[in-house]
Structure formats: structure tokens, C-alpha cells
């Protein structure tokens, strides 16, 4: 039976069996699975695992399988962004994080499903079909890194990498009852991450426990001279794995517990905050007054970036090509057939927002909102160490429930996008269940203070049992 395994468990199992057996058992699970978490399997995974069986190694992730969101470039393994446009695209180079994972001894088992080009919150807008939530397959896993979160929850992969532009690791972590972190902007090189919105997104580690998040961060974080937005900092994340939050100051932003919240989710989140209080932390209400403008500002900036980022997909050099009698016809047909509706919608809206006459009204205004949102967080962190609230205002919704109403899906990320606008780090950890579905607690830290988040999250996890529950059929 598939099971949840931490990095520690996995290494232990490799010691007892072999990396090859561990890897092939994951591949078997994936093969038999019906949740559709993967787009492609790494055909060389077994070969890679055999290498670690032959060459004993004390590398931090030696022989440990990892799944990778399908917008992170993997040399020799298709990287499709779950789009028809890139169905046949095999990158000739590895993303920075992939290089780091290989250097640490990890085995890439496959690429996980996602909303097309990371545009969505439900992992339904994929060319290869929807990913289903392992807790209830009639529900979505969240998104856009839904494949990664579902793979973890279904025991198809012990750890995973996602990306978070506006909640894309936290939303699925919350819906699937796993852990994920969006680090401070600039912490992890974006080199090789296929851009959706460059100034908002970060690659984020996903796992079934807090400690693994710190271990993965220690492997993949750090300066990379190929990414000009990468920042030089030396942080040991594992050092922050401390089961003690005595005296930590928690702010609870009233705006994150909004009118639209599911009362059951609200209660679970308050219970979590009170649990932290029992464990020695102190909390108070704080205000992030500008966050109500964050959602529209976020979508304007993200779509503007996207309209430009996705211009390169024209059928000329790689990916899908639909022939036409001249270049413009070819490029138009390719884009018409290669992109799905949500991607087209965002390209159109982004193009509109950047056009002459609208640029100042939308794009420039959104940049101003962004500065104000950042100021809100700066002010809040003058008084507190971390902020806490619900990751999502509700539990996972039903497959197909919101797909015809894009705005309602955009709204689900209302608690996540302010974090990306401000560039601060944030994590989602399981904090309870409503109607048998997981609920995520969001812990937001100040810029470069992932350590406070990890410490709070680890303390909470070690003193509660929420992360020990599994979906049916998973050990």
C-alpha cells in the first residue's frame, strides 16, 4: 500500500532495501494510480537509482525520489507546462534547482501535472486532464501545483518541487493536507523555471512534514549568477527545526479571516492559533488594510508579465507547430491550437493592461498597490514574528464546480497573493479537517525570515496529530 514517507523514512528504507526498489515501488504506485498526478515519468529513474545502490553515498538526498512540477526544466525529460504547446518539448538544459537536486543525490521520478502554464488554482486546465484530490477524488487538489500535492498525499512521491506565483504551492498543500513553502523572492534561482510572472514567483518545496521542507531548502536555496533576481544569503534552514515557540509573537491579520470564509475552516484556524498560544507563543490581531486591493493588482501584474512571457511560443523553434502559408499564419494557428482558454484569457487581459492608453490606468496603478501591500507587511512585522491565518477560505471544491467561472477560482487565492506581491515567505501546513477534507494553516514570515516560519510550523506539527492522518488507501 502506498505510504507517506519523510526523507528520513525514505533513506532508512533505501538502507534496508535499495534505492532501486524504493524508486520502482513509487513508479508502480504512480502506474496504478487514477489521480493523474503525473504528466511524464523519468525513464532513467531506475538507472539513476541503481547508481546509488552501486555507489554508497552520504549526500543529503542520496537515492531519494522526488517529483518535479512540469514547469521546471529537466534536461532530457519532457517539460510540458501541461500545455499542448509544449507536449513534445524536451529541454536541453537543467533548471538550477534540478542541478542542485542531482548534486544532492536525488532521483527525479517524474513531472507533475499543473494548471496550464501555472495559470489556475485547481489543476483542471491541463492538456492531459484534471488531477484528482486523493482525499476525495470528486474534488480538485488545488493548484497550480496540484499534481505535486496530490502525488504527496497519494504516496506517489515523498517530496516534490512546485512553484508559487500567487499561492500555487500553498493552495494545493492546503487542499491535499501536505506542507509547502513559498520562500522569500530571490531565495531560489528561477533559472529554468518557465516563467508565468517573473517578479512574483518562486520555486517552492513540498513535502509531508516540516522538517523535509527545511532539508529541501538547504539543497535548493542559494545564489545563482544566472538569475539576476537571485540574492546572496547564507541560511541554514535545518537549524530552524526547533520544537519550541515560547515567546514567539504571532499576528493574526483580520483581513485574512474574511467574510467569505467557511465557518468550519475559521474555527479550525482559530484552534490552531490557540494551540500555539498554549505552546508559549503570544498572539494579537493586526491589520493589512491594503490587501483588499491585492487580488486585482496581482492579476494585472501577473497577466501583463504572462502576455509577454508566452510570446515566445510561436511554433518557430520548438514545441507545437501548426503549419500555415506564411509565418504570421503559422504563429497564429499554433497559438490558437496550442494554448487553452485560461491561458488565452490571461494573455489577452495582460496585453490589454499593457496597451497604450490603459498602461497607466492598470499596470502602473497595480505597481502602486504592490508598494502599499509591501508597506502593510513591513508595518506588521515591526510588532510580530510571523502572521497566521487560513491558507484557503474553504476546503477543496468539486471538480468542474468553478471552471466555468474563472473569477470564482481567482478569488480562492485571496489570502495567498498578497504574500507574492510583498515577496515575503509563507508556508501552509495541515491544521485540521472540515468535512473530512484537510484545512491548511498559513504562516507568513518577514523577508528572509523563513526560520521563524519553520520554527512555528515545526512546533505546531510536533504537538498536534493533523499531519498523521492519511487519505483512504494510503499508509
Amino acid at each position: 500500500m502506498p505510504e507517506w514517507m519523510s526523507i528520513r523514512d525514505t533513506k532508512h528504507k533505501i538502507d534496508n532495501l535499495s534505492a532501486e526498489e524504493v524508486t520502482s515501488s513509487y513508479l508502480d504506485t504512480i502506474e496504478k494510480s487514477s489521480i493523474n498526478a503525473f504528466t511524464n515519468i523519468n525513464k532513467k529513474a531506475i538507472e539513476d537509482a541503481k547508481y546509488y545502490d552501486k555507489n554508497q553515498s552520504d549526500l543529503p538526498l542520496a537515492g531519494v525520489p522526488i517529483s518535479i512540477k512540469d514547469n521546471i526544466s529537466t534536461k532530457g525529460i519532457p517539460t510540458t507546462c501541461s500545455s499542448r504547446m509544449l507536449e513534445n518539448y524536451i529541454p536541453p538544459f537543467n533548471a538550477h534547482v534540478i542541478e542542485k537536486l542531482y548534486e544532492a543525490g536525488a532521483i527525479i521520478i517524474g513531472k507533475t501535472n499543473m494548471d496550464e502554464f501555472a495559470m489556475g488554482g485547481s489543476t483542471e486546465t491541463c492538456c492531459g486532464g484534471t488531477t484528482f484530490n486523493p482525499w476525495d477524488t470528486s474534488r480538485v487538489p488545488g493548484g497550480s501545483s496540484g499534481g505535486s500535492a496530490a502525488a504527496l498525499a497519494a504516496g506517489e512521491s515523498p517530496i516534490s518541487l512546485g512553484s508559487d506565483t500567487g499561492g500555487s504551492v500553498r493552495s494545493p498543500a492546503s487542499y491535499c493536507g501536505v506542507v509547502a513553502m513559498k520562500p522569500t523572492y530571490g531565495t531560489i534561482s528561477r533559472y529554468g523555471l518557465i516563467s508565468y510572472s517573473n517578479s512574483l514567483e518562486q520555486i517552492g518545496p513540498m513535502a509531508t512534514c516540516v522538517e523535509d521542507i527545511a532539508h529541501i531548502m538547504d539543497v535548493i536555496a542559494g545564489y545563482d549568477n544566472r538569475d539576476s533576481t537571485s540574492i546572496k544569503r547564507d541560511i541554514n534552514y535545518s537549524d530552524a527545526i526547533i520544537n519550541d515557540s515560547e515567546g514567539m509573537k504571532i499576528g493574526v491579520p483580520t483581513e485574512l479571516i474574511s467574510d467569505g470564509i467557511n465557518p468550519k475552516v475559521e474555527k479550525i484556524v482559530w484552534d490552531a492559533i490557540h494551540k500555539m498560544e498554549d505552546l508559549g507563543a503570544i498572539w494579537k490581531e493586526v491589520s493589512l488594510p491594503t490587501t483588499k486591493y491585492a487580488l486585482p493588482a496581482y492579476y494585472i501584474l501577473a497577466m501583463s508579465d504572462a502576455s509577454s512571457n508566452l510570446a515566445r511560443f510561436d511554433g518557430t523553434r520548438y514545441g507545437l507547430r501548426v503549419e500555415g502559408n506564411n509565418w504570421h499564419v503559422m504563429a497564429s494557428k499554433t497559438r490558437a491550437q496550442g494554448f487553452g482558454d485560461e491561458v488565452k484569457r490571461r494573455i489577452l487581459l495582460g496585453t490589454y493592461a499593457l496597451s497604450a492608453g490603459y498602461h497607466d490606468k492598470y499596470y502602473v496603478k497595480a505597481l502602486k498597490v504592490r508598494t502599499l501591500v509591501k508597506n502593510d507587511f513591513d508595518r506588521a512585522f515591526n510588532d510580530v514574528d510571523v502572521l497566521m491565518g487560513p491558507t484557503m477560505a474553504d476546503i477543496a471544491f468539486k471538480v468542474g464546480e468553478k471552471i466555468e467561472d474563472p473569477l470564482s477560482i481567482y478569488m480562492t487565492d485571496i489570502n495567498n497573493v498578497p504574500v507574492n506581491l510583498a515577496g515575503v515567505p509563507s508556508m501552509s501546513i495541515p491544521c485540521g479537517f472540515a468535512d473530512k477534507m484537510p484545512v491548511g494553516l498559513q504562516i507568513i514570515g518577514n523577508t528572509f525570515d523563513e526560520s521563524s516560519i519553520l520554527r512555528c510550523a515545526y512546533t505546531f506539527e510536533q504537538n498536534t496529530n493533523h499531519h498523521r492522518k492519511r487519505p483512504d488507501g494510503v499508509n
Partner: protein, 472 residues
Amino acid sequence: MSYSNTDGIMIGLEIHVQLNRLKTKMFCGCSTQYHSSPPNTHVCPVCLGLPGALPVINQKAVESAMKVGLALNCEIVEQTQFHRKNYYYPDLPKGYQVSQFDYPIVSNGKVAIEGEDGELVIRIRRAHMEEDPGKLIHMGSIDKSKGTLIDYNRSGMALLEIVTEPDIRSPKEARRFLDKLRNILEYLDVFDSDLEGAMRVDANISLQGGDRTEIKNISSHKGAERALLYEIMRQKNLLRRGEIVTMETRHFDEARGVTTSMRSKEEEHDYRYFPEPDLVPLRVKDRTEKLLQELPELPDAKKERLISQYSISDMHAKALVSNLKIANFYEEVASEVNPKVAATWIADVLKGELNYRDLTIDACKVEDIVQLVTMIMENKITDRSAVEVIRTLLDSGGNCMEIVEKKGLVKVEDNVVEQAVDDVLGENKNAINDYLNGKEQSLNFLVGQVMKKTRGRADPMIVRDIIANRIK
């Protein structure tokens, strides 16, 4: 000399200069030395625009751009920023060009050129950095082509776009400005004008009473002059007939020497500029001092120095500095022989002979010209022979002394000339009579006969004087 510019001509230029002396491209580590390589061999994920690849600013390119700015008397911006210029074209691998918008690296400069009526100052509005697109290669002619191939070797090369104010008043001034600019760029060692696509020019031009047109695709200085001459004539004719000159972009057809309409103002692109989110703003102004120190002597300063140091004429100094290699060559020669005579021979003769043969000064050795000037100074060879030595050096190589000896160019003694004149006068009574009867050409004939007898080693001017004195 005054220039009235009765048509109210206003010309502004946009010059794309490829910073091809850099080792690597603008945003990646690919080599710039692609000019004789097969297509698509100097490329990487960044300059091919592969998904996930990110640009990194080439700091040397930034410094080259700043040096150009300083040489053009520009102000350096405090903090510069790159923007995306969005448009679709197959040679553009990302669907946008990384360029600059409201924070160009340098702005507000000026350059003095020799105008139609004395010195003319051309103001430089700005110069900004951007990346070059790839190159389209049509199989067959552009309209009948079966297909188009794309070579991305050029993609991502660092470009500097220099924009002037509309201070230029004639096609000739435009050409002089371009010559001067090229000269400065070569002095800065940021640019090799001999490489294909090194400099491309767009020109804006308007006449009094008409709108402005923009001419694209001019690839040479001569082409700029021709395109502008044509466009002035076209606009003048329209205005004379009472028609209007509309604002539009026109294409220069180099082969036919005409401009044709590409698109009207309404069809202009909306480039949707926005800050390049993959690059952070770059503080540059604090490098100004360091770069000023590194700035070489520029053409104008070198000209003034040559005039005062070697007492040569303004004209010679100008001719020498218009090519850095020739100026350096001259200074080497001038350190060993009479600088004035050296200037005459290098600026007036050698430069012309090189141009005629499409050769650079590399074809010539300093020691040969030193020897040649020495012999001229010592009256050992005639000017005519000296020219012949230069031509032989350039055409067949060898060294100066060898050529002089082999060709027997050492100047003959005066008494030998006297003897030859005597002989010729004795042999050509009819010609003497013709001359005395007013037939000037006869004198030329007699001089020619003497030159023949002395195998060209006599000085024809002297021979002429001797003959004229004898028979008057």
C-alpha cells in the same frame, strides 16, 4: 560660405551600433565572433529564448555604452533599467526585445561636425542599450522565396542605439555626422565597422510645411546620403504640387536608390513597454570616474595635438586622425623623420593609394615610409619616383630600398640631365620651332623625350624649366 537651408530640412538619425568588440553577447556568455561561423553555432538557451532561460547583463557592454556616452558628451543616468519591447517577428526568439525605455544609459550629449557653413553642433538626445535579433535568410528573392531560414548567431548581440535631435540640415551633414561617429567609436575600441551589420541607420526627415517620415534599413553612410537625397526630392515634389507629406515609415531600397512606403503612422506598433522583470535596475553613475580615466584620446583632441606637436596643417591632421590606425602609423613615422613631410606623404599620397586599393594601413610598414621620406628629404629620389615606390610596395610588396635600386629610381645627377636636354634639343628642331610658334604641347613632348632618355629619374618640373630657358 553660408547655407540658407531654404527648404527647412530637418534630419534626425537613429544609429544602431553593434558593440562587436565585446567578447560576449549582451545577456549571455555566447561568443560574438560568429561572423565566419555556420548558422546557429553561437547560441545558448538565453539567446535562443528557450523557456526558463534568464538574461544576465554583460557589465562590459554597459561600460562600453557609458564610454560612448562620455565621448559624445552625454550625461550618465543615475540608475539604468531595461524594458521589454513587445512585438512578434520570427527573428525575435522571445517575442520581445530587451531594450531600454525611460531610463536610457546616457542622454543629452553633443557632437560637433563640419557643417555646410562651418562648425555645426548636433545634439544627441539619448543612447540606449538593447539586444540584436537574429537574421533572416530568404531562400531566393524576398517576394518569390520558397522559405526563410533563421540564423540566431546574431541574436543577443549588444546594440547601442544612438538618437540625435533633428539638427542635421543636409544629406552631406548626415554623412559627415556618421563618419565622425564611426571614427569616435573606433577610437573607443567598442566597434569594428568592417563587420557585417555593424552599423545600421534609420533617418527621420521633414521639410518645411510637411510631416516627418522615417526611413528604415540604411546600411551604409553613403546609403544614408543617397536615401536622404531621394527623400528630399520626393517630399519637395509633393509639396510643390500642393500635396501633403504624411507621417509614415519608409523603406530604403539600396539597389534602386529609392524609398518606398512601409506603413503609415496609424499602423505603428504599440510595443507595450514594461520593465524587464528578469533584470534589476542597475546603478551605473558611480563608474563614471573610472571610465573617464580609461577614455582614450579622441579624434578632435588628437587632431589638435598633432597640429601643435608636429606643426602640420589642419587639413593633414584631419586626414590623419580620421583613421586611428593611420594616425598611429603617422606618429611612428614622424618620430623618425621630418613630421611635416611625413604628413604630406601619408595624408596626401599613401592614404589615397590605400583607399584606391581597398587596403588598410596594415599593408604598409613604418620603416619603408621612414626610408622613403628620408630619401625624399635628401633629394635622392623624385616625388614621382616616390609615388612609384609606394604603389609598388602596395601592389607587389618588397621593401623601399630594394624597389628603388631594382627600378633604378635613384635621381640622376644634374649634368646628366643637362646632357640629355642638349641631345633632345639637337634631335628635335621641328618641335622647337613649333614651340616658338606658340604650340605649348611641343614643350611637353620635349620634356617627355628627356624623361625617356633619363629613364624617368629626372625631375620633370626641373627639366621643363631647363628647356624653357634654353629655347626662349
